[in-house]
């Protein structure tokens, strides 16, 4: 076994030097955005623009999707190259797999798997070059985790699908270029056989986006009112949206994997070294050390689950249940860590600190414990999928979809 992320095979040394130098040059002036990872619910326009610009520059070199074929905007490289890119980005608190607000990390692999040759040539390059921002819009008001119970209809009319319906709790504060969504293409059809997966340009007439102010920040409601979407945007074929959904959901639900360290512990320790009680630094207090130890154990376990999933994904050996296991554990660990932060630093754990990025803001960590228990499906659906993948309660063992 080799867990190493830093010692490359000799032939990659030059590539690491190249990426390192490139990042240094392109991060100049943006160093203060360290740890501004993929996503922020804070409406920081400067940060957003910087990230999108960086994604675009990386994308032009094929480095956002280093393992994708060149003709689709990738670089045709290996997993070792991907690891080099990831680890060089991590030095700046960034993460390739999240691709800076664009959601291409999920959309592009799904298009690669299910798109026609024509769709791949048209849809992939703008995604893999980081030029466009896509929102996944799956949740409907009545459906919740049951996304197959999809009421947004897309009825074929000549060369178009006419889309009518509503999606909720999606996106962030900056409007997207495309909406990546599940629709009902045959209202009379059987469950799972009546769906379509469609990539909708967000500027088409009849689309309205309204902000929703939620516990975890800004999300949106999207209304489709007779939106005419050219039929070429349907991915995976007529009434075949559920197979596309399976690939998408595997990537969304932890199966994408990642490498990198959660910066939260580092900041907790820093806090405990700076603050004292009764003349004694918090970090010297055994009870606080015990609490930090619990955080470290769980965040390390999470890091290892993420790395395992990353390996299985890019080695094309899908882990049967690794994705949902990671996701369930992550959510429960985040919830427990929220309580631990409160035990360590009292009211400071509940007060927003705008001087640091939200990934290391204690208030954000506490608030998003309960706030992120359900995004993309509840804890209960995680465990349900786990049972199916292991073959508990059903005669058939459901396979994990292969993704790239």
């Amino acid at each position: 076994m080799d867990f190493n992320l830093q010692q490359d095979p000799p032939e990659l040394a030059e590539f690491r030097r190249e990426v390192g130098a490139w990042m240094e040059e392109n991060m100049r002036g943006g160093e203060h955005l360290r740890w501004s990872a993929s996503w922020s619910t804070r409406e920081n326009e400067g940060e957003y623009r910087f990230r999108r610009g960086l994604a675009n520059k990386l994308g032009r070199k094929g480095w956002l999707f280093p393992m994708f074929p060149k003709e689709y905007g990738g670089a045709g490289l290996t997993m070792d190259h991907q690891v080099v890119l990831e680890t060089e980005l991590i030095k700046y608190g960034l993460n390739l797999s999240h691709v800076f607000y664009t959601l291409a990390r999920i959309v592009a692999p799904v298009v690669l798997k299910w798109g026609t040759e024509e769709q791949k040539r048209e849809f992939l390059p703008p995604l893999t070059r980081g030029e466009i921002s896509v929102w996944q819009v799956l949740t409907e008001p009545q459906g919740g985790s049951d996304i197959a119970n999809c009421q947004t209809k897309a009825i074929r009319d000549g060369d178009h699908y006419v889309v009518t319906g509503q999606k909720v709790m999606v996106g962030h504060h900056v409007p997207p270029d495309y909406l990546w969504t599940l629709v009902c293409t045959n209202p009379q059809g059987k469950r799972h056989e009546n769906l379509g997966w469609i990539h909708i340009p967000a500027n088409l007439p009849g689309i309205e986006i309204q902000h929703m102010h939620l516990m975890m920040g800004i999300k949106n409601a999207i209304f489709f009112d007779g939106v005419r979407v050219p039929a070429k945007y349907l991915v995976g074929g007529e009434n075949s949206g559920w197979k596309v959904a399976n690939t998408h959901l595997e990537l969304e639900h932890g199966g994408d994997g990642r490498i990198g360290v959660d910066p939260l512990v580092e900041r907790v320790v820093e806090y405990c070294q700076k603050n004292a009680a009764g003349g004694k630094k918090l970090i010297e207090d055994d009870r606080i050390r015990d609490t930090i130890a619990e955080m470290i154990l769980e965040l390390n376990t999470l890091r290892r689950f993420n790395q395992r999933n990353f390996y299985h994904r890019f080695a094309r050996k899908p882990h049967p249940y690794g994705g949902v296991q990671q996701r369930y554990f992550q959510r429960m660990a985040r919830l427990r860590n929220g309580e631990r932060l409160q035990q360590i630093m009292g009211i400071d754990a509940l007060v927003q600190d705008l001087s640091v990025h939200e990934v290391v803001d204690f208030e954000y960590a506490v608030r998003t414990g309960p706030g992120q228990l359900h995004g993309g499906g509840t804890l209960d659906t995680d465990r349900l999928v786990f049972a199916r993948r292991v073959g508990i309660g059903r005669p058939i063992v459901e396979k994990a979809p292969e993704t790239i």
Binding site: D380, A387, G391, I392
Partner: protein
């Protein structure tokens, strides 16, 4: 990055798995645990013949010169049994202590005997019931004639009944910690099995038991030797617990398919599924903590914090895996004739052995963030 076993390790794994199937069939194993007859000399001898005793040691001393991950792969399979006996306590940890702290002469004369399985050196460390740090060492060692004598009571010695020798941590007159090897047949040594929800555990009393001066491994710095040996071997014990968790996960999932209640297999009930999810999380948390630390050791990187982390996670995992399995098996799982009971009793024992998870978490913190 490559998170798979290499060919040699796959082969080790298969040999160990076949050994467990052939030598430790489930019905036999449950009997041994039920009757507390966990030391099977013939089993230990066979394991020594295959090369698993002293597996980490260089071939020059009779060992197998195996890597840490190689050895762990074997112990993971043994944990699936769970194969009882002093394979870890004597064959890995005891051997490692001698290797870390012994003089060249001691190593040359003792280690080949240990690796052949003739000598089983079982560490006897803590005098007190709850504690495994240096403060737990109370047994006194004093000069007597041309040798020494030991006086004290080690409250929990795992695999004591299997020992041919004990490696005793003892307090010197200056308050330092010595490590000595003592022949179990010496006068003044009593081994009393601990009866209860534990297995392979005994109290060992040293009543003016004589130690020859050539059997002193360290006169002063016994604790640092013990520490060095633990750093290299805790992940092996963790791997054993990983194997045990894997076995529990597998037989519990199987049971959810075959057990029918309320007119359907219990696996249909989502609450039963949830228990399986919880077992899997503990299992995989322990697996990757252990193997990451083993990789650190194999690649010569600092592994002190990792070793303590792995022991903490794996002991908690084994303990919780049993508890969740008890939720699934209910009544039948509480029968001493059921394999779950062997695991349950062993899991509680290993939770205590060499220190509880809480103990190792503190040691991990001390390794990461030393106190001022």
């Amino acid at each position: 990055m490559d998170l798979t076993l290499n060919e040699t390790q796959e082969m080790f794994k298969k040999v160990a798995a076949d050994f467990v199937k052939a030598e430790v069939p489930t019905h036999q194993m449950t009997q041994w645990y039920r009757l507390k007859e966990t030391f099977r000399p013939e089993l230990y001898r066979k394991a020594a013949e295959v090369g698993w005793v002293g597996m980490l040691l260089p071939e020059a001393y009779g060992g197998a010169g195996a890597g840490y991950t190689d050895c762990a792969v074997v112990f993971e399979e043994l944990g699936r049994g769970p194969v009882p006996g002093p394979l870890f306590s004597g064959g890995i940890l005891g051997a490692q202590i001698v290797f870390e702290g012994g003089s060249e002469e001691q190593k040359k004369s003792w280690l080949p005997e240990i690796c052949k399985g003739n000598w089983i050196p079982v560490p006897a460390v803590a005098d007190i019931a709850a504690g495994w740090g240096p403060e737990s060492v109370e047994t006194r060692i004093t000069k007597s004639g041309d040798g020494f004598v030991l006086a004290g009571k080690k409250r929990f010695v795992f695999d004591a009944e299997a020992a041919t020798h004990f490696i005793v941590a003892a307090r010197t007159e200056n308050g330092e910690i010595a490590l000595v090897l003592i022949d179990r047949k010496n006068a003044g040594i009593a081994v009393d099995r601990l009866i209860g929800f534990t297995v392979s555990a005994a109290e060992v009393v040293f009543d003016q038991a004589r130690v020859a001066s050539q059997n002193v491994i360290s006169a002063r710095s016994g604790w640092s030797i013990l520490d060095a040996a633990l750093e290299k071997t805790l992940p092996i014990l963790s791997a054993y617990q990983v194997g045990a968790c894997q076995e529990i996960f597998d037989f519990t999932v199987e049971y959810t398919r075959s057990r029918v209640v309320f007119g359907q297999p219990i696996g249909r009930f989502q609450r039963v599924q949830d228990h399986c999810v919880d077992i899997s999380i503990h299992l995989d948390a322990a697996r990757w903590a252990a193997y990451e630390t083993l990789w650190l050791l194999d690649s010569g990187q600092p592994a002190k914090a990792g070793g303590h982390e792995a022991k903490a996670i794996a002991s908690e995992a084994y303990h919780h895996a049993c508890n969740y399995a008890h939720m699934v098996f209910a009544g039948p799982g509480t029968d001493y004739g059921h394999p779950l009971m062997a695991h349950s009793v062993l899991a509680h024992t290993l939770y205590q052995y060499l220190g509880t998870p809480a103990h190792h978490k503190r040691l991990m913190m001390d390794a990461l963030f030393p106190k001022e």
